[in-house]
């Protein structure tokens, strides 16, 4: 098991490097000059040169990337082109909000999606299954930012139970933190829960048709024992894969939903960076997002190995 984990960890490092390289060289195509960003278009060529030398953009792209990578490995994403602030400082300020939202949404997704998916998968073809599947189809078609807008307009503002805008850090007040992320998490989590429910249903219904479930019935195990030890235990394997995809979708979705609730996360950082052409910030957001997804994926891979002996034992 330990070698399995180690092998997986070693396998993801090139993944992240390639992802950042692809993004880096793609951003190079945009031909933005940081010197003009900093100084406007009325500075002298000498002044421009100084800024370029300071930011290192006068070097060949490959050299720039290798330099960026060696710093990024130590969580140093260089300096913003727009203003003389380390990019890491900006990212660091925005991380708690995005992480809180994503985590909340993942919780909503699992707590709602999993039980509903299991319930409808076990009774596949029944009325309850049809109702759950239809509800999930609607949930999946609801854009999270619209759900958020409805929750803000029809729940937060009339009742005042939850703030309609803003984010409170968990270190400031845990209660206020929870209140500030509940609605965005639900808005984001509904589509995730709907997707997870549908996929869990398919996984459970698929396992129920397997010959080994028939074997378990023939031995005379209780329904509960078969559901746990045979059905869910095997359905968990594809569900873990789906969960990895969902986490990635939720992280991306949180960037848009945070705009609805005016939550200062990585989304607003990235959007203003795009409008300001502050490319190191865009690259840093991409890197952090890819890293988060990869770490989650890694954890799920290990879980996958623990769940499925066919992967673990070679």
């Amino acid at each position: 098991m330990l070698t399995f984990i180690l092998r997986r960890v070693l396998a993801v490092i090139p993944l992240v490097v390639i992802a950042t390289a692809a993004t880096f060289f793609m951003l190079q195509l945009s031909d933005v000059d940081p010197a003009v960003l900093r100084l406007g278009d009325s500075a002298t060529e000498e002044q421009y040169g100084e800024v370029r030398a300071e930011l290192g953009t006068d070097r060949p792209a490959v050299v720039q990337y290798v330099d960026w990578l060696s710093h990024a490995a130590r969580f140093d994403f260089g300096e913003s082109w727009k203003r003389p602030v380390p990019v890491m400082t900006m990212v660091h300020q925005r991380m708690p909000a995005t992480l809180s939202l994503t985590l909340g949404a993942v919780l909503v997704t699992i707590l709602i999606g999993l039980p509903l998916g299991i319930a409808s998968g076990v009774r596949a073809g029944s009325t309850a299954d049809s109702v759950i599947t239809a509800t999930a189809s609607i949930g999946q078609a609801m854009p999270a930012f619209w759900t958020g807008l409805l929750l803000a307009a029809y729940v937060a503002i009339p009742t005042g139970w939850f703030p309609a805008t803003g984010f409170v850090g968990p270190t400031a007040s845990v209660g206020d933190w929870a209140r500030s992320i509940i609605l965005p998490s639900i808005a984001l989590g509904i589509s995730g829960a709907a997707a997870l429910a549908r996929q869990t249903r398919a996984a459970v219904a698929g396992v129920l048709r397997q010959p080994y479930v028939r074997t378990a019935v023939s031995v005379g195990y209780s329904r509960r024992s078969i559901l746990g030890s045979d059905v869910l235990r095997n359905a968990a394997i594809p569900i873990v894969t789906v969960l990895g995809v969902q986490v990635s979708l939720l992280l991306g979705g949180s960037l848009i939903v945070e705009q609805v609730f005016v939550v200062p996360g990585l989304g607003s950082l990235a959007f203003s960076a795009i409008l300001e052409k502050d490319l190191p910030v865009v690259l840093a957001v991409v890197t952090v997002a890819a890293l988060l997804v990869t770490v989650v994926q890694l954890a799920l891979d290990v879980l996958y190995g623990a769940l499925d002996p066919r992967v673990r034992v070679r």
């Binding site: 993944l15 609801m142 010959p211 031995v219 030890s229 991409v286 002996p309």
Partner: protein, 626 residues
Amino acid sequence: MKAGRGRRIVIGVAAFEVAAVIVAAIASPWVGKNTSPSTLSDSLAEPSWNHLLGADQQGRDVLVRIIQGARIALLAATEATLVAVLIGIPLGLLIGFRGGRVDLVAMRLIDSISSIPGVVLAIALIATLGTGLSRSMLAVGLVFSMVMARIARGQVLAERERQYVDGARVVGVRRRGLLFGHVLPNVAPALIVQATLVFSAAIAIEAGLSFIGLGVQPPTASWGIMLADAQDVKEISPFQSVPPGAAILLTVLAINVLGDFLQGLVVGNQRSGEGTVLDGVRVQRSPDAAPAPAGASLVVDTLDVAYRGRNGTMVRAVDGATLHIGRGEVLAIVGESGCGKSSLGLGIAGLLAPPATMRARSLRLVTDDGEHELADLDPRDTSWRRHVAVVFQEPAASLNPVHSVGHHLRRALRQRGVEPTQRAEHAERLLRQVHIADAPDVLRRYPHQLSGGMAQRVMIALALAQSPAVLVADEPTTALDVTVQAEILSLLRQLCTDLHLSVMLITHDLGVVAELADRVAVMYAGQVVETGSVLDVIATPLHPYTAALAASVPRNEAGIGIPEPLEGNVPEPGHWPAGCRFAPRCVHAVEACLAESPVLAGTGGRAFACIRAAEINLVGVPPRRS
């Protein structure tokens, strides 16, 4: 596939919705021209005759803007989908067809890029390409092209494994011809379904990107822009956020419903009312059961099994089967595939799944602790189950892949009430009983680490762990190598003798019957057509079907010649002919055979269902000199 009525209505509504959006998109340049120009006096007007969905902050009619937004939504989704399809599919087909190193490198790259969340990747692409509708949708299309490429490649790899591709290679079809002529038509349906999903996702993403200001720019009407406007006034006019979002929801939902429908056409849908083996099937009991023959451990009296056929009506697969198995006796059920043998076995073991139905006068199990009338029990009552053990044809698939052999056996022993401290030792003993030499090692193995023969031995050990009265063995050796078959057969024979097991052996192989069984019941088209001791039935068959089966068995004896294969096929359930069901294939059939249904009758444990038995002289297989 026949969709249910409710389903057809849903699909119809979805198709109508999509059509309405398309019409709105086409008509949008002419919509709203005749209405009064927007005035600030209409600002945030409530829905009324004048403004059916109200007016926005600048007094513009919301319905008109929704219709204009439909055009943007469809244009945007079309662009993104075209980009995804035109880049992703050729890329995926190429990767899949090249394979080898190209596949390795390209998939590595696609995997890496896919580790970036789609929205984030789209943001990075927009940072490069610039904002605005066509650029942002180009970015979204590029993101989805990765998904399309991955799926197209997977489809090609799956199709490449198929026989027809090898066949085309052998006859010299060139690679490009193969791609376009043979593989593409087969992978196209899956890719079309995927494209509809990309289309609906692109509608939602266009709205999202326009909402945050990276897509369409105001004053163009887009559902996302309208929601951004609504956000500014959510405190004074919450309704502003409802119509544009509902437009997105309904459109995306309708496209997804149609996509699901397409997918259902491709892969088939589960029909409603279909249960699983967990639900079980309650036996409908007809009360006039005959008394049990002395010494029987299983009595089956007039058992019917029916399944739901393709057109929805119930179709009988087993028709009035009556038989019994004596204690310590091996009863073989023989017949070609499709004769209802397995349905009979599953019915007896209580392993049918709804909507299958079962009817019987009696289905009785006699064990040390008395008689159990299984036909009277609730299908969820599991108390009798351990008395009837089952060994299936596919041993590897019949074992739970995530549990070790030891786990399987210990769980069954716990079910039987064996003390925890004794289970490990008991499990080891069971493996030795099925002639597994290295029991401690095998206990630690998982099903995928077992050979077919080994897996079948484990299945038999699992059956023995239940200490059953009756063992149903459904084609236990069919999936195994010939040498392994002989080993498993001799093991089964030894266990029958040693443990006094009553065995119902389901097989199509008369060789296996001769090897193992005491008595035999021959089934044809759902009915038992002949029963008796193995020696009698095989040596002197009284039903032409039995004789035909015997003649088709290859024998290694001088002067016998090659076996005669049986002409024709077993009629499918639901298409059974009137009169004797075997008559259309029977060389001895006369006019009367087609008119009259023969009844299974006889004396002294020998019975047959043929009206001509006395007139014809049937040839069997002489008993083996062993």
